[in-house]
């Protein structure tokens, strides 16, 4: 049992918490160890300093900024980048269909369909009603 272990346990006791060591063992050690008694006395004196303090409140209203960011989500920027990429891929796969003797099989038909679906979804203003969902969650908080 080191001095530090006893000091940690004694501080827990002073805080009204359950110490990790038996109270009797802490008391025996403190009775014999002047250094531990001194350090604990100093640390407990800090508690009096804290008693005269409270957390300072800082008035803040971040809701307008948060609301603005919720209404223009990152998705808008992503959408702007995603649309040309998807469209280019769609054109490329459609062009592949004109290559004679191509061996990609069903992929040349399936991929353009998937790409077209993705372009349609991204092009929607709000395909999944995300904002409506957020509003109802906000009200529930």
């Amino acid at each position: 049992m080191s001095c530090e272990q006893v000091r940690i346990a004694a501080m827990a006791l002073a805080d009204g918490e359950t110490p990790p060591l038996p109270r009797a063992a802490i008391e025996v050690h403190l009775a014999e160890c002047a250094e531990c008694r001194q350090e604990l006395g100093e640390l407990q004196a800090l508690g009096q300093l804290w008693q005269a303090q409270t957390r300072r409140t800082h008035a803040v209203d971040l809701w307008p900024q948060v609301e603005r960011r919720l209404q223009s989500p990152i998705g808008q920027t992503k959408k702007r980048r995603l649309m040309p990429t998807l469209t280019a891929l769609l054109v490329i796969f459609k062009l592949i269909e004109f290559i004679p003797n191509r061996s990609l099989g069903m992929w040349t038909q399936l991929v353009p369909l998937l790409l077209a679906a993705a372009v349609f979804a991204v092009a929607q203003e709000n395909p999944f009603q995300i904002k409506t969902e957020l509003r109802s969650q906000e009200e529930s908080i």
């Binding site: 530090e4 000091r7 940690i8 346990a9 501080m11 827990a12 805080d15 918490e17 990790p20 350090e39 100093e42 640390l43 800090l46 508690g47 300093l49 804290w50 008693q51 005269a52 303090q53 409270t54 957390r55 300072r56 409140t57 800082h58 008035a59 803040v60 209203d61 971040l62 809701w63 900024q65 948060v66 960011r69 919720l70 957020l134 969650q137 906000e138 908080i141």
Partner: protein
């Protein structure tokens, strides 16, 4: 959200120490919270759950922020006197707190200003109770050293 922002601002300030950083972290935390609301268990208390998100945002911001850049930001006070102590004591404690690591500031203010028990600290900081005891002890030692050095 409006209900919690003053309290959350106080907590973010205790970790980051600068108003602008605290506001940035808080905004990020609110946005992340909206994204994660579907995973929130209604049987739990909201603020401790939100605090986990907030402190993650604070640590990310603290990691991104360089020391030089941070020193140019507006420093705001964490403490307010209750009338029971002197202004000198408060200023000394404030200055000593600022000299500590964000982790030490966080655990000390949660314990002494919010009155969280060891169990509550363990839940809030996602640490075992034994680690909370040890961190709190070392944070207090650091604070005493800072105060000792200034007196």
């Amino acid at each position: 959200m409006e209900r919690y922002q003053t309290e959350a601002m106080g907590h973010a300030l205790a970790i980051l120490g600068h108003r602008q950083d605290a506001e940035d972290a808080l905004q990020e935390a609110f946005l992340s919270t909206y994204g994660a609301l579907s995973s929130f268990d209604d049987n739990r208390r909201f603020y401790p759950w939100f605090y986990t998100i907030l402190r993650n945002c604070c640590w990310k911001l603290a990691a991104r922020r360089g020391k030089q850049e941070a020193s140019a930001l507006e420093t705001v006070e964490i403490l307010a006197g209750t009338g029971g102590g002197t202004i000198e004591d408060r200023l000394a404690l404030e200055q000593a707190l600022r000299a500590l690591s964000p982790q030490s500031r966080e655990i000390l203010t949660l314990r002494h200003l919010d009155g969280l028990s060891y169990e509550e600290l363990a839940a809030r900081l996602e640490l075992p109770v034994g680690t909370v005891m040890s961190r709190l002890f070392h944070a207090r030692k650091g604070l005493r050293e800072q105060l000792g050095g200034k007196q």
